[in-house]
């Protein structure tokens, strides 16, 4: 499964590189160079995020997590997870590693879903650094407002579908 995903991703890279090459050698070189620079810049973050997540999950006392966002925490737990997710600053390494740490420490699956969904929709730093400067302000507010019910809907669907 893991190998299949790696192969799939690299086939996509190969196809895109070929397509870029057909459009010109410069495009291929630019794409490859920018991709590599991007990767190099991400490296320290990934290392810290992944290694950190393992220790954070281990260090967190389960007794402290479960009453707040445990499987029996219901709507309140979902609301807490949603607020936590929306306020989490940082990219996918941070968002997903905290979600995974929550799950390992005994949080309920629907609550983790609410957390991931809220983080994906709001991630504070992404909103501030990228969305506000790049989009009209009203558009940002509109999107933020209509996204409010989504983490709760996701948690409700998760409860309806049953545990993974």
């Amino acid at each position: 499964m893991t190998l299949a995903i790696d192969i799939l991703l690299w086939i996509a890279v190969g196809a895109l590189a070929l397509f870029a090459r057909m459009r010109g050698r410069v495009l291929l070189r630019d794409g490859a160079r920018e991709g590599l620079i991007e990767f190099a810049k991400l490296l320290p973050r990934i290392c810290i995020g992944v290694i950190g997540a393992g220790f954070v999950a281990e260090a967190l006392p389960n007794d402290a997590i479960v009453p707040w966002v445990g499987p029996d925490s219901g709507l309140i737990g979902t609301a807490i997870a949603t607020v936590g997710g929306a306020l989490t600053p940082g990219g996918p390494v941070i968002g997903f590693s905290i979600g995974a740490a929550m799950l390992k420490s005994g949080a309920g699956a629907p609550q983790v879903i609410a957390y991931s969904t809220a983080w994906a929709l709001y991630a504070l730093h992404r909103l501030v650094i990228f969305e506000v400067p790049m989009m009209p302000a009203r558009m940002v507010w509109l999107r933020a407002a209509v996204s409010l019910p989504l983490p709760f809907l996701a948690a409700a669907f998760a409860t309806l579908l049953g545990q993974p």
Partner: protein, 186 residues
């Protein structure tokens, strides 16, 4: 017509949010070492490195896919398919684009801005951004899978499928009710 190139994103290799995470990680590592001993500490460190090893090739592939698509994407053509008259199909198409477009916020928001500039409605733009953040496959494959495992990720994505459309419809209702006015200028 020359297309404005998307703003170069200036992501530094290290910033404050990473520094905070690093501090938290160090604190947690110290706690585990002090509380559970070095054998347990090494076991966790080892499994973290294994996870890191499986992620590396994917992250590199994700970065390359993101930059190539940004360079190759015919932005204007895409935007025409999600214009004001596009109706429910426009929402579906916008969500689909959000799912298949790889890359980070530095790719997505310029595209969303281009959508608005060529007359896409607010609902389509909301559906597009929501689909990218919630279902986007590069993010799921590269980042989410190693942390959560295939089963959980598929389960989460199934639950997320209707959400971009719901958000898009809500945005249209808000605009129609006169609570917000979105024009195509940036």
């Amino acid at each position: 017509m020359t297309e404005p190139s998307p703003p170069r994103h200036r992501r530094r290799a290290f910033d404050w949010s990473t520094a905070v995470i690093a501090a938290v990680a160090l604190g947690a590592a110290g706690t585990v070492y002090w509380r559970d001993g070095s054998a347990h500490f090494n076991a966790i460190l080892n499994s973290d490195f294994v996870l890191l090893g499986t992620m590396m090739p994917r992250v590199l592939a994700g970065c390359l896919i993101g930059t190539f698509v940004t360079l190759l994407l015919p932005r204007e053509m895409v935007a025409r398919w999600v214009g004001h008259e596009s109706g429910f199909a426009g929402l579906l198409i916008a969500a689909l684009f959000g799912i298949i477009l790889p890359g980070g916020p530095f790719t997505i928001y310029p595209v969303a801005g281009a959508f608005l500039a060529v007359g896409a409605d607010a609902g389509a733009v909301v559906a597009f951004i929501s689909a990218w953040t919630l279902i986007g496959y590069t993010r799921a494959l590269v980042w989410e899978l190693p942390f959560f495992g295939t089963h959980f990720v598929i389960w989460r994505i199934v639950e997320a499928l209707p959400l971009p459309i719901i958000a898009g419809l809500l945005a249209r209702m808000v605009v129609k009710a006169g609570l917000a006015r979105i024009r195509g200028e940036r």
